[in-house]
């Protein structure tokens, strides 16, 4: 298929772009296979480049012969384009609609994007399961890396290599897989170095109505427990069910989110949307569950198994947040990338399904749900409470959110490791991490307040402590000038301090040198 078939009018002059808190721009609108571009063709005037995959919904309005389209994006931005001419407006709208809903992965922009930067480190190879296992081996010898899933048949959503208890053989794993939803048998999620306790995750057990048992499953779980030690199983679903008892059980556990964030689409104000959606309630519940899991591990000295229904949504929210709380390494830029790779991408969170649409979409939700955004929001809540304990700043979280929904990079394409391998993503696309892990980007994303904090950080989950994530939900709805200035001022204070420290240190060195070289100096005193 050629993109040209979908583009009825590739270019329109005299288009006016309206964005909140920004001056309007008049220019030429161009449609390409992947972008909507507005250029004023003036020097130093800003251009708009919008990926079609970022567009969530599009509306047309007509006043006389002037047409307007309102473009609502997955990053929650809303812009308006005034297009002279009815026909042009119609054509642009229908082209954008078609291009933004194109569901053919191999036609996505990452396959066409060529990096304009030097790749220092290929992100596709930065966080391989075998490397993560090597780190584990330095701490314990009770686990092994199993390739039982090497052709992704035992569990299609798992990566080919998973960490399992050493004493459990592959045959047992195959049997356990039949007892767990989608074949997601319990695998290692996190090893707590401090006391050797572990966090495992899995799909729900298929006990059925007559309480079927599986002795291999029991054997596997028991293998993770030390003699005489207790463990906990945290089922993430009960929370969801309780909070929406009115909704029917079953189906996707993430259904609750979809329903709630979409319930109020007609409201213009996004903030109302967030309020009406009980978003903050979800934040509080997920964070509470993660704290509970972390507490079992760190305080009770107990191992934990986390599962929901399929084990690809709220399970991952809980296991990844618990790691943020417990493991200081996950609070670094690189550690966080590793966490997203391990606990989300390799763990089989279906990004392609979940991020196909966002809050503004009018179509009926199928498998979309802002599960990952909810996770990022929870991380931001912890970051707000421990502003000096994270190596990355809020902008890193916003960046990851943006790229999960629409990106030139291949990282978040597909639903599982198997799908990504089938699409040859590592060969054909660039990894987001290749771009992030360069000095100039890292500098921009680093939190100037960061001081390594090796402690477990326990966030507060009281409603008073949980705030609206303005950086995402109000990003396009407010002028952030004053807050940006405050941030700059903060950076300035810290940098000036560092500069002085360096000056003092270098003077001190000079002085020491002078003293050794010239003992006379002292006698001069």
């Amino acid at each position: 298929m050629e993109f040209a078939e979908l583009i009825k009018t590739p270019r329109v002059d005299g288009v006016i772009l309206h964005r909140p808190f920004m001056p309007t721009v008049e220019g030429t609108l161009c449609l390409t296979g992947h972008h909507l571009i507005l250029s004023s063709r003036q020097d130093n005037a800003e251009e708009l480049w919008l990926l079609h995959s970022n567009i969530d919904s599009i509306e047309k309005r007509f006043v006389g012969s002037l047409g307007s389209i309102i473009v609502k994006c997955k990053d929650l931005r809303v812009i308006q384009l005034d297009i002279p001419g009815m026909e042009e407006c119609f054509n642009i709208a229908s082209s954008v609609e078609a291009l933004s809903t194109l569901d053919i992965l191999s036609l996505m922009y990452p396959f066409f994007y060529r990096p304009m930067f030097e790749v220092i480190e290929d992100g596709w190879n930065s966080f391989l399961p075998e490397d993560a296992f090597k780190d584990l081996e330095t701490m314990t010898d009770e686990w092994r890396l199993s390739d039982v899933n090497k052709d992704c048949t035992v569990c299609p959503s798992y990566p080919p290599l998973v960490a399992v208890p050493k004493d459990v053989d592959d045959d047992t794993l195959r049997k356990v897989a039949t007892f767990r939803h989608s074949g997601r048998f319990p695998v290692l999620s996190y090893y707590h170095k401090k006391n050797g306790m572990v966090m495992m995750r899995a799909g729900q057990p298929l006990t059925g109505t007559n309480g079927r048992r599986c002795k291999e499953d029991e054997k596997l779980i028991n293998a993770t427990l030390r003699p005489g030690k207790r463990g906990y199983i945290i089922d993430t679903r009960t929370i969801n069910l309780a909070q929406q008892a009115k909704a029917r059980g079953g189906g996707f556990e993430s259904e609750g989110y979809v329903e709630s964030i979409k319930s109020n689409i007609l409201q213009e104000s996004l903030i109302k949307l967030v309020e009406a959606s009980n978003w903050q309630t979800h934040v509080k519940e997920i964070l509470t569950t993660a704290c509970l899991a972390a507490q079992c591990i760190d305080r009770e000295g107990a191992s934990v198994l986390v599962h929901g229904t399929e084990g690809t949504d709220s399970t991952l929210q809980v296991t990844s947040l618990a790691q943020i709380i417990l493991d200081p390494a996950c609070r670094t830029i690189r550690g966080f990338q590793g966490l997203v790779e391990r606990e989300w991408l390799q763990a089989g969170h279906p990004f392609h399904h979940r991020c196909a649409q966002s809050a503004f979409s009018n179509s009926k939700p199928r498998q979309e749900a802002p599960v990952f955004l909810l996770f990022l929001d929870c991380v931001w809540q912890i970051l707000r409470q421990f502003p000096c304990s994270f190596e990355f700043s809020e902008s890193f979280l916003v960046l990851v959110f943006d790229h999960a929904y629409a990106s030139q990079f291949g990282t978040f394409l597909g639903n599982s490791t198997a799908e990504r391998a089938k699409l040859s993503l590592p060969e054909k696309t660039v990894s987001l991490w290749s771009w992030v892990n360069r000095p100039q980007e890292l500098e921009r994303l680093t939190n100037p307040l960061y001081e390594a904090n090796s402690l477990v950080i326990w966030p507060s989950v009281a409603p008073q402590s949980l705030l609206l994530w303005e950086g995402v939900f109000l990003r396009w709805n407010r002028s952030s000038k004053c807050l940006d200035e405050a941030y700059e001022e903060m950076v300035h204070i810290i940098e000036y301090n560092k500069e002085l420290q360096n000056k003092v240190n270098s003077l001190r060195r000079q002085l020491a040198q002078l003293e050794t070289e010239d003992p006379l100096l002292q006698t001069l005193e």
């Binding site: 207790r230 009980n278 934040v283 509970l292 305080r299 989950v461 009281a462 008073q464 810290i494 005193e525």
Partner: protein, 630 residues
């Protein structure tokens, strides 16, 4: 002392608000000014409760003792369990009596005697000079004059003695106008902009009824208009809801008729009355006090309290006036009913928006002294200093301080002071430790001879200013200059947990960016000094590491231990209630399972059933969070 039936009770338990199973046992002491709880465990600092007790509630006796719920005016809530009913009864009656003194002389400020000699104490009161602030505005000048008309409080007994009025306002006009205004509170100057001559004036409502007129009052407004030569009209802002103002007409009061006054534009700005505000704050506090609210309990409760809506109304009114003055160059006369609550709020908020000076430490103090203290905000009644009519109590000053805080959230670099400054002022408005906020007006304060007998808060705050400096403030910053233009979209208003949940340390960020930056700035200052001295070679040899400069890192690394962040609201005042040490919440399985939503999180005990151990929470290297509150 005669009110204390029982000065000391032993074996009293102080329950933790968040997890009631956790409690501390100690001895409760009652003194004339303070309630002190000394924990039995050695080495724990005693807990001081100021005279701020607002209400005491005795609950039904149980097997373990008799419960006493003490609410303080600084929003601290303490839950004591006294072993014996009889003792509890005595403590209850004593506290109740102590919290509602009948005579002014009982107030703490008359017995508060810090180690300061008399000359110094006198100087404290000279620290702020309102006349200096008027001359900072450029007054008196050819348009505005100082008027001695209210010397000895003869014209209006609730107004200050020193006032500024339009140059053309003669004493007969002033006196005539005052007779046509509630409580004789005639239009007078609150703020004057020397850039464009526009002014904010304030008064009480006119006694216009359905048709009454007063020539002098009309001349008075005419005089105000003429004192702004570039403008051909002025605004008259009635800060009440229109309905309330109309109701007042039936009582012979009301509002200005545009037809009777030349060139005025009349405007209602609906801020609710003190009774609505009192109830709203009460509801909001109930929500903040909920033991383990769900997100929707909290958000819906906050919404239905209407508190933030009222804050928005105050701010909106301030913005209207500030814009009229700065952007249109038009003078404004503001009034409500008596002109000492809403009018004080609106004039002072407008001043903060207009003039960068009022966004400095000294400026805010002057502003409160001027628009609140001197113009007769009835602190004694509104803050319930003495036993009195509970219907007179209202959080007008709380709302002003919160409005300033909401602005600080939007303009982090524009204010010289931090939130701690506002919270400390709030505490002392209610504490009665200083003489500043005693009495209802200047005349009463003169009669009480407060300047002779008590200490002033302002110089205390000034001496401790390092605690109150906002590290992001820079006088030359663009954000610091000129008129502030805040957004009042509903989502811009946040719940001020720093004030209303001040004593729930678990709810606050575990690391404070502000404290971090302040420490860095202090270090920077020392480095600058070192560099300067370095450049003089002779000093360089004896160069030594400054102790604080290099200890910084370790301090901040521990910022998430309990002690550090409870300390952030403790001021150096000896009588400031100390946040309880180590009061972070422990999470036990019991507390989880005792409450519905946590049961739903579905912990299944896989191998054995021993309860979770409690001692793990005493682990010193890490703190426990309040997520048991879920």
């Amino acid at each position: 002392m005669e009110h204390i039936r029982l000065p000391k009770v032993e074996n009293v338990r102080l329950l933790d608000r968040v997890s009631p199973r956790r409690s501390r046992v100690g001895t409760l002491y009652l003194t004339a000014t303070h309630t002190i709880f000394v924990e039995n465990e050695a080495g724990v600092r005693p807990l001081w409760i100021d005279i701020l007790v607002c209400s005491v509630e005795k609950q039904a006796a149980t097997a373990s003792g008799c419960s006493l719920l003490v609410r303080c005016k600084n929003f601290q809530v303490l839950h004591f369990v006294v072993p014996r009913e009889r003792e509890c009864h005595d403590v209850h009656l004593s506290l109740q009596r102590l919290s509602q003194p009948e005579r002014c002389e009982e107030l703490y400020c008359f017995s508060y005697k810090p180690n300061v000699d008399e000359a110094e104490r006198r100087q404290e009161w000279d620290f702020l000079d309102l006349k200096a602030d008027y001359s900072r505005m450029g007054l008196p000048n050819s348009l505005w004059k100082f008027s001695p008309v209210n010397q000895h409080y003869k014209v209006s007994d609730t107004y200050p003695a020193d006032l500024f009025v339009p140059q053309s306002a003669t004493p007969p006009v002033i006196v005539g106008s005052s007779k046509f205004r509630s409580r004789g509170r005639f239009p007078t100057l609150s703020y004057y902009s020397k850039e464009n001559h526009a002014a904010i004036c304030r008064s009480s409502q006119p006694l216009s009824g359905f048709s009454a007129r007063c020539l002098e009052d009309e001349q008075m407004l005419e005089a105000i208009l003429r004192s702004n030569p570039r403008s051909d009209f002025m605004y008259v802002v009635d800060t009440r809801p229109k309905l309330n103002a109309i109701a007042n007409r039936a009582a012979g009061k009301g509002y200005e008729n545009e037809d009777n006054y030349s060139n005025i534009k009349f405007q209602f700005i609906g801020i609710e009355n003190i009774h609505v505000m009192r109830n709203s704050q009460q509801k909001m506090l109930e929500v903040c006090e909920l033991r383990s609210p769900s997100m929707s309990d909290f958000l819906e409760g906050l919404e239905s309290s209407g508190w933030l809506k009222h804050i928005k109304a105050v701010l909106d009114a301030g913005i209207f006036i500030a814009k009229a003055v700065a952007e249109e160059g038009v003078s404004v006369l503001v009034h409500c009913s008596d002109g000492w609550d809403r009018t004080a709020q609106v004039c002072s908020v407008a001043s903060v928006l207009l003039d960068p000076h009022y966004r400095t430490l000294r400026g805010l103090m002057v502003l409160i002294e001027k628009d609140w203290v001197s113009f007769g905000h009835k602190f004694s009644h509104r803050c319930n200093h003495l036993v009195g009519d509970p219907k007179e109590v209202s959080p007008a000053i709380d709302q002003f301080l919160e409005s300033v805080w909401q602005l600080m959230e939007q303009f982090p670099c524009a204010f010289e002071f931090n939130a701690r400054f506002l919270i400390t002022i709030h505490s002392h408005v209610y504490s009665c430790q200083y003489g500043n906020f005693i009495g209802n007006n200047q005349r009463e304060r003169v009669e009480l001879r407060l300047r002779e007998r008590t200490h002033s808060l302002w110089s205390y705050l000034w001496k401790n200013q390092t605690d109150y400096i906002n590290p992001l403030y820079r006088p030359d910053h663009s954000q610091t200059q000129g008129l502030l233009r805040p957004s009042t979209a509903p989502y811009c208003f946040k719940s001020w947990r720093g004030l209303y949940n001040r004593f729930d340390p678990g709810m606050h960020p575990r690391q404070s960016v502000e404290d971090y930056l302040s420490a860095i700035q202090e270090e920077t200052q020392q480095l600058e000094e070192q560099l300067a001295s370095h450049k003089q070679v002779e000093k360089a040899v004896s160069f030594d590491r400054s102790p604080t400069a290099w200890a910084l890192g370790s301090d901040l690394g521990l910022a998430n231990t309990p002690q550090d962040y409870t300390g952030c609201f403790v001021t150096s005042s000896p009588c400031q209630p100390k946040a309880p040490d180590g009061s972070l919440v422990l999470l036990t399985q019991d507390s989880n399972l005792s409450n519905g939503s946590d049961q739903e999180s579905g912990i299944a005990d896989v191998s054995c059933r021993s309860p979770l151990s409690e001692d793990s929470t005493r682990d010193p290297d890490s703190d426990e969070a309040a997520y048991s509150a879920a």
